[in-house]
Amino acid sequence: MDLSILLILLQDGIVNGAVYALVALCLVLVFAVTRIILIPQGEFVSFAALTYAVLDTGVAPASLYLLCGLGAAAFLRSCWTRRGSELLWLALETLILPAIVTLITIWLAPLHLGVAVQAILAIAITAPLAPYLYRLAYQPLAEASVLVLLIASVGAHLALGGIGLLVFGPEGSRGPAFTSAIFHLGDQTISGQSLWIVALTAASLTGLYLFFEFTLLGAALRATAVNRLGARLVGIRTSQSGLIAFTLAGLLGALSGVLIAPLTTIYYDGGFLIGLKGFVAAIIGALASTPIAVVAALGVGVVESFSSFWASAFKEVIVFTLIIPVLLWRSLRHQTTEDEE
């Protein structure tokens, strides 16, 4: 192996790792705030990617049905616990918003207005799915144990996977690149799309940091993450925090989908494997520490890239066994003295 191969692999690993990082970030965020291990995060990624690819053909994507349907279901599920002005907001969020997005998409889709518009539409169609899912599946379970929430996640993942197959079909798609530019650096070539991915990931990370540090909403989320009961006592509703966390997860998931769509073929169920690798990173970050999770995600991408060069048959084995020593090291360092749960 020479230096140029090494650099290509490194670059490939970092680009993939950046997408894993976005996923890992969402997992950490959602877990910290709601104790939900969000298995369906992968679905948001693949749905956004496939929606983006369909939009490029000038057709309104079938995922609009999903958006409106899930919105309506969330409305019905939530409406008998709300009343008055709250109901109005709920309708705005779960009924009016999908309707507007649908109308705009039907209007704009055939016009071929370019990748930026398509990307924004794809995110607008996919991101709201996350808060709807929260209202539908998780909010009634807010006080359940981590295990029950996990199984609920499995249920949501199964249902969304089935819907994905119905909506997008079994075959994959690729989306158009944001830019066809290719940069040369010595004998290395770097595609503009890779730079977009790394840059947008970095921007999202910075944005999140600012959100958590300097906004009231961010502070509320952090408070919920640290102490759910305490946060509730000072007037922060856990369901509200959950909704915000899911909205962020939906946005970031959709963004990662749109980012990765031009680089590779995405399938209706492809997000699950991306999600699992995001999990590996999130676990290394111990589902609590964002910076470690991001570094770990990049590490997973790089390890994956190198092991696919050296021993491609064992790539998954290597990637998924690698976390065990890390976990072990972490658990040895943090001796638990108090009881669990």
Partner: protein, 583 residues
């Protein structure tokens, strides 16, 4: 009638599939349910009761299935000999994986097993030894007296018996010394450790036991399906077993069968009904199944079994009359000597240079305002937390830094400020946990019911201690259904079951009525007279001043006064500490 149920079940196992008019496919479904229920039974013990979530049960099933498949196809070994091989393979795999993964706690452990599951799935698909992705086919069927088990009805009998054996063994295990240790893991491992339970061993036991049951299921699967490949042992299969367990009711053994039955039958019915409703155009089964799963959890977060059987009848225990051997009465002299004890958490010094001593037959009180470091001192003295500096001597022997189980073995017993009783156990089962070190039956003896004499003796001891504290008539009530004050007394009975020479009680009188307090004081005096050394943390000043010969007063982690109650009461530093912090 009730007593003969195993006979009835065995008759059903043989007869049921041959009932005239019974659709053959129902038997096939029954087989599927049975195999899944065996795996789910293991998960009830591991996840529902032991609190460890595993995503790798299908992988352990794979170890069992592949072991017997390889032996019987490549080496012509009888499928019956494949059974021990399968159990051994899955057990050893669990030991190895457990050794490096079980240190992880809570959701890290869940995700750690998830990683194993993905990794092992791809490993099965890559290794020539196990036939890669195509797997191993032409596995011989089981054979008994010349009859080959190829018909699903014959298989049904075998699976039903295996399931019955699994449930029987699991019930026995849970009702044994080690079973109680596993039951105490969830939400109470500190308490269990303080009574000498080797927590790591109990966790490993649950992990290996669940894996061995999965191996049994794998063995059945291999010889009944007669072809194995990686897909039935992948992550999706593991997830399915876990969701069966949770849907059924993860904390009860019958929940395993209920969950497996529901999931298999619902999946099968959906396959028939949905096309009639929605047409053949798409596959809606998985969507509807996912939605149903979420809905069921929203209506029954603890699973469905608790809805069916609201109250599980308390297990009847034989109360033996043979007394357990007792520790030699401690010699008079210093029982506990603490000097220079120190502990900091980050920037906060919780205990600083604590020094005091306690003799056999003596009761002393450790008092101080909230946050003075009393409970931390208790944790330091009982091995729950390791001190940063200082020494602890027990009857002259240096025991600084010993673990909680080691301290228990030396005769140190305690109660907790926040009551730590296992919610799933009755009062007497909680109490008998205190006598864990006074028995020595192995888990295997427990599974095969070879521990009954010892169990009777342990329960006899627990009953004696309950009588002593006056709660004998509540022995079979669920522990957490008692009033908080009574739960504290249960903790004392549990501590007494250890036959301690040093007893540390954290606020034992909190929540007691006046008469109860007097009875407790009487009991503690009597225990001291018998030779025990007793250290009390107590906020009820009247109670502690009447009882203790000396008081040690702490504030901000240090001892600020020591002496007889009357003297301490007048100490200006003490008054300052209490008024200062109380004001």
């Amino acid at each position: 009638m009730i007593r003969f149920w195993p006979v009835l079940v065995i008759i059903a196992a043989f007869g049921l599939p041959w009932l005239p008019g019974l659709p053959l496919f129902w038997v096939t479904l029954g087989n599927e349910i049975g195999i899944a229920a065996i795996v789910a039974t293991g998960l009830v013990i591991l996840t529902g009761i032991g609190g460890m979530t595993s995503f790798a049960q299908a992988s352990f099933m794979g170890f069992g299935a592949y072991a017997t498949a390889i032996l019987s196809t490549r080496y012509g070994v009888s499928p019956w000999l494949g059974l021990p091989a399968a159990l051994l393979a899955s057990g050893i795999a669990a030991l190895a994986i457990g050794a490096i993964t079980l240190r992880l706690r809570a959701h890290y452990l869940a995700l750690g097993t998830l990683a194993w599951s993905v990794s092992l799935y791809y490993l099965f698909g890559t290794l020539d030894l196990v036939g890669r992705n195509d797997g191993i086919s032409s596995i011989p069927p089981l054979q008994l007296a010349g009859v080959k088990f190829v018909d699903v009805r014959q298989s049904f009998t075998l699976i039903a018996l295996a399931l019955l054996a699994s449930l029987w063994a699991s019930r026995n295990l849970l009702d044994s010394r080690w079973g109680r240790a596993i039951r105490a893991l969830r939400g109470g491992s500190v308490a269990a450790a303080s009574f000498g339970v080797n927590i790591a061993a109990a966790r490993m036991l649950a992990f290996v036991y669940a894996a061995v049951l999965a191996g049994l299921a794998g063995w059945l699967f291999a010889h009944l399906q007669r072809a194995v490949n990686p897909t039935p042992f992948g992550l999706n299969a593991s997830i399915e077993y876990l969701l069966m367990t949770v849907i059924g009711g993860a904390a009860q053994l019958p929940g395993a069968l209920l969950g497996a039955g529901l999931v298999v039958i619902v999946n099968d019915r959906l396959q028939d009904w949905l096309p009639l409703l929605l047409g053949h155009a798409g596959n809606f089964e998985v969507i509807v199944f996912g939605l149903l799963l979420v809905l069921v959890l929203q209506f029954a977060p603890s699973g469905l079994w608790p809805l069916i059987a609201r109250r599980t009848a308390a297990t009847r225990h034989t109360i033996g009359t043979i007394a357990l051997p007792k520790r030699a009465t401690p010699a008079p002299g210093p029982a506990l000597e603490v000097s220079g004890l120190r502990k900091r958490f980050g920037g906060l010094v919780a205990v600083a240079d604590l020094t005091f001593s306690l003799s056999a037959r003596e009761i002393i009180g450790l008092i101080g305002p909230n946050g003075a470091g009393k409970s931390t001192s208790f944790n330091l003295l009982t091995g729950v937390t390791k001190p940063d500096a200082g020494t602890v001597r027990l009857a002259g022997r240096d025991v600084t830094g010993l673990s909680a189980p080691a301290m228990a073995r030396l005769g140190v017993a305690r109660s907790f400020q926040h009551v730590k009783l296992a919610a799933s156990m009755s009062v007497i089962e909680n109490v008998v946990l205190g006598a864990h070190l006074r028995g020595n039956a192995s888990p295997i003896a427990g599974v095969f019911r070879q521990d009954r004499a010892e169990e009777a003796a342990l329960f006899g001891e627990a009953m004696r201690q309950l009588e002593r504290v006056g709660l004998a008539e509540l022995a079979d009530r669920p522990a957490t259904s008692l009033a908080l004050g009574q739960q504290r007394i249960v903790e004392i009975a549990r501590a007494l079951c250890l036959d301690p020479s040093l007893l540390l009680l954290d606020e034992p009188a909190a929540g007691l009525r006046h008469a109860e307090k007097q009875a407790l004081a009487e009991l503690l005096r009597k225990l001291a007279a018998e030779g025990m050394a007793i250290l009390l943390v107590e906020h009820d000043m009247e109670f502690v001043m009447n009882l203790a010969a000396r008081l040690v007063v702490m504030d901000f982690g240090t001892r600020i006064a020591e002496g007889p109650p009357a003297e301490v009461r007048r100490n200006p530093a003490v008054i300052e500490a209490y008024l200062g912090s109380a004001a």
